[in-house]
C-alpha cells in the first residue's frame, strides 16, 4: 500500500482535456470534462467513453479454480460457458460484503478473470489468498498491467465496430452479436490481449474494453477523434444510480449484505457452500432488519447521502445512501437503507434536508428503464 495517489494510464489525457479531477478510490480521476448533465445525456442518447482503468483485474486459474471461485463468490460459476460473465459478491462469513465483482469465464479451462472495485483491489487480493488454503489455484493480480475503457450508450455498437476497424469482417458479426454479459477476445499486432465485453454500469447498451496501457491510449485517441464524449465519474454515478445499480461503499459494504441490498438473486443459496451462505440464508429466511429501498420525494428538494429518513412523527427509520435530482427522469429520488418494517412499496417516508422535512414514498429502485442487449 502506498500513500501517494495513483493515476491511470490516461491521466495526461484527462489533464489535457481540462477535466475536473478528484481523488477516487486512491486514484486521481476525472469527475467531469464538460458538465455532468451533458455527459450523462451523451450516454443516454448517443455514446460516451469512461476511463475505468482504476478497476482491478485478478486472474484465478488452476485445477481447483471453479470450486475456489464458487467458494468465495455468491453467484454460481459451475458449468459457466466460456465467454460468459456473472455478477455477484464476495461475502464475509456474517454476510457483509468484501466486494461486488464480475467473474469472466475465460476461453481456457479452469481460468477465470475477476474484475473488482479499485478501492478494494488489495483487500480482495488478500481475501482471496486467505481463503485459498486447500485449493490448487494460482491468484494473479494483474491490475496494474491492464487499462480499461467503458464505451456506453445506444451508439456504442456502431462505434466499437468502427473503432476496431472490423467493418465487413467476421469479427464485426461477433462484436455486434455479443449478448449482454458475454465477451470476446482479440489480439493486437504484437500479440497483446484485448478483452471486449458487453457490460457496463450505466443502464444502457455498451462495451468494456480491457487492454494494455498503450492500447488503451491508442483507443482513447481514436474515440476522441471520432467525437465520442469523454465522460467522468460524476455522470458514471448519476447513470448507475438511475439504473438501480449499487456502488460498493454506499449500497453494499461490510455492514450492508446483498440480502439487505435486494440482491438475493445474485446469491445462489442452493450451492453446496460458499463463504457467507449460512448468514445470507438466515437473513433471507428471517428477513433482514434493514433493507435498501428507493424513495421519491414529492417536492424538488434533493436527498443526499447521509440525510435521515423519518416517519411523520420524526422517528428516524433510516438513512439516504445515494440521492440526486434525476437527470433523465426529472424526479428527486434516492436509495436509502431503512428499517424493513417501512420498506414496502408506497410506504410514506420523510427525508430531513437541512432544516426542513420533505414527504415522499417508497418506490422501485430501478428508476430508469434499462436498455441492455439481451
Amino acid at each position: 500500500m502506498s500513500d501517494t495517489i495513483k493515476t491511470t494510464c490516461l491521466h495526461d489525457k484527462h489533464l489535457a482535456l481540462g477535466a475536473k479531477m478528484s481523488p477516487f478510490a486512491g486514484f486521481d480521476m476525472p469527475i467531469q470534462y464538460s458538465s455532468i448533465t451533458e455527459e450523462h445525456n451523451a450516454v443516454r442518447k448517443a455514446v460516451g467513453v469512461f476511463d475505468v482503468s482504476h478497476m482491478g483485474e485478478i486472474f484465478v486459474s488452476g485445477p481447483d479454480a471453479e470450486s475456489f471461485v464458487n467458494h468465495i463468490f455468491t453467484n454460481d460459476v459451475r458449468g459457466m460457458e466460456d465467454g460468459h460473465i456473472l455478477y455477484g459478491m464476495m461475502c464475509y462469513p456474517d454476510g457483509g460484503v468484501v466486494d461486488d465483482l464480475l467473474v469472466y469465464k475465460e476461453f481456457e479451462q479452469d481460468h477465470y478473470l475477476l474484475v473488482v472495485n479499485a478501492a478494494n483491489i488489495d483487500k480482495d487480493d488478500e481475501w482471496l489468498r486467505s481463503n485459498a488454503a486447500g485449493y490448487d489455484v494460482v491468484i494473479d493480480n494483474q491490475s496494474e498491467a491492464w487499462g480499461q475503457l467503458a464505451v456506453q450508450g445506444p451508439g456504442s455498437e456502431d462505434e466499437i465496430v468502427s473503432l476496431l476497424g472490423i467493418d465487413g469482417t467476421e469479427a464485426e458479426e461477433e462484436i455486434r452479436n455479443l449478448k449482454f454479459y458475454t465477451f470476446a477476445d482479440a489480439e493486437d499486432d504484437k500479440g497483446n490481449r484485448v478483452i471486449i465485453s458487453r457490460t457496463g454500469y450505466t443502464g444502457e447498451d455498451g462495451y468494456e474494453i480491457y487492454a494494455t496501457p498503450d492500447n488503451i491510449n491508442y483507443l482513447w485517441d481514436e474515440l476522441m477523434s471520432d467525437g465520442v464524449a469523454p465522460c467522468g465519474l460524476g455522470c458514471r454515478d448519476t447513470l448507475r444510480f438511475e439504473a438501480g445499480l449499487p456502488l460498493y461503499g454506499d449500497e453494499l459494504s461490510a455492514e450492508i449484505s446483498p440480502v439487505m441490498a435486494g440482491l438475493s438473486m445474485f446469491c445462489k443459496l442452493d450451492k453446496p457452500e460458499f463463504v457467507g451462505k449460512e448468514a445470507l440464508a438466515s437473513q433471507k429466511a428471517e428477513g433482514a432488519p434493514r433493507k435498501l429501498v428507493g424513495i421519491e420525494l414529492h417536492d424538488v428538494a434533493i436527498p443526499r447521502a447521509g440525510y435521515p429518513v423519518e416517519l411523520e412523527d420524526g422517528t428516524q427509520v433510516g438513512v439516504v445512501t445515494t440521492g440526486y435530482h434525476s437527470i433523465s427522469l426529472d424526479r428527486s429520488i434516492c436509495f436509502a437503507l431503512v428499517d424493513s418494517k417501512v420498506s414496502a412499496l408506497g410506504t410514506p417516508l420523510w427525508i430531513r434536508i437541512r432544516k426542513k422535512v420533505f414527504p415522499g414514498e417508497v418506490v422501485k429502485k430501478r428508476f430508469y428503464q434499462t436498455n441492455y442487449k439481451k
Binding site: S35, I36, T238, A301, I302, Y324, H325, I327, R354
Partner: protein, 125 residues
C-alpha cells in the same frame, strides 16, 4: 479564470454582497458556481426570515452535491429571487446578476469583516 466583480464584497464561503444603503444584496461568486457545476435547485428562505452572519440561510444544489449558503450579514430577509426556483441555471449563467436574497442589515459594521475584490481574488483560485 473565475470572474471577480470590482465593487462587491466577498466572504470566504464565496458569497458576494452588494451594499445598497442598509440593504445587502447577496449572491454567490463565479468561482463558486464553477466549482459546483450545473445548479439544479436553489433552496431559498422566506421573506421575513431572520438571518445571522456566518449561518446558513439556504442552499444551492448541483447535480452532484448540495452546498449551503452562508449569510455574510445579520438582518431580515426583505426579498428572495423567486425567479431562481424555476431557473436555477441562471446562477451558472450570470452569478453576479443572479442575486439570491436581499437583507435589511441589523448591523452594517459586519461589512467590515468582508473582503474586497482583490483580497477575494487570492482565495478564489
Amino acid at each position: 479564470m473565475a470572474k471577480i466583480n470590482e465593487g462587491l464584497l466577498y466572504c470566504e464561503s464565496h458569497e458576494w454582497v452588494k451594499v445598497d444603503g442598509n440593504v445587502a444584496i447577496i449572491g454567490v461568486s463565479d468561482f463558486a458556481q464553477e466549482e459546483m457545476g450545473d445548479i439544479t435547485y436553489v433552496d431559498l428562505p422566506s421573506e421575513g426570515d431572520t438571518v445571522t452572519a456566518g449561518e446558513d440561510f439556504g442552499a444551492l444544489e448541483s447535480v452532484k452535491a448540495s452546498s449551503e449558503l452562508y449569510s455574510p450579514v445579520s438582518g431580515t430577509v426583505i426579498a428572495v429571487n423567486s425567479e431562481l426556483e424555476d431557473a436555477p441555471e441562471k446562477v451558472n449563467e450570470d452569478p453576479y446578476a443572479s442575486w439570491i436574497i436581499k437583507v435589511e442589515m441589523s448591523d452594517t459594521k459586519e461589512l467590515d469583516a468582508l473582503m474586497n475584490a482583490s483580497s477575494y481574488a487570492e482565495i478564489a483560485k
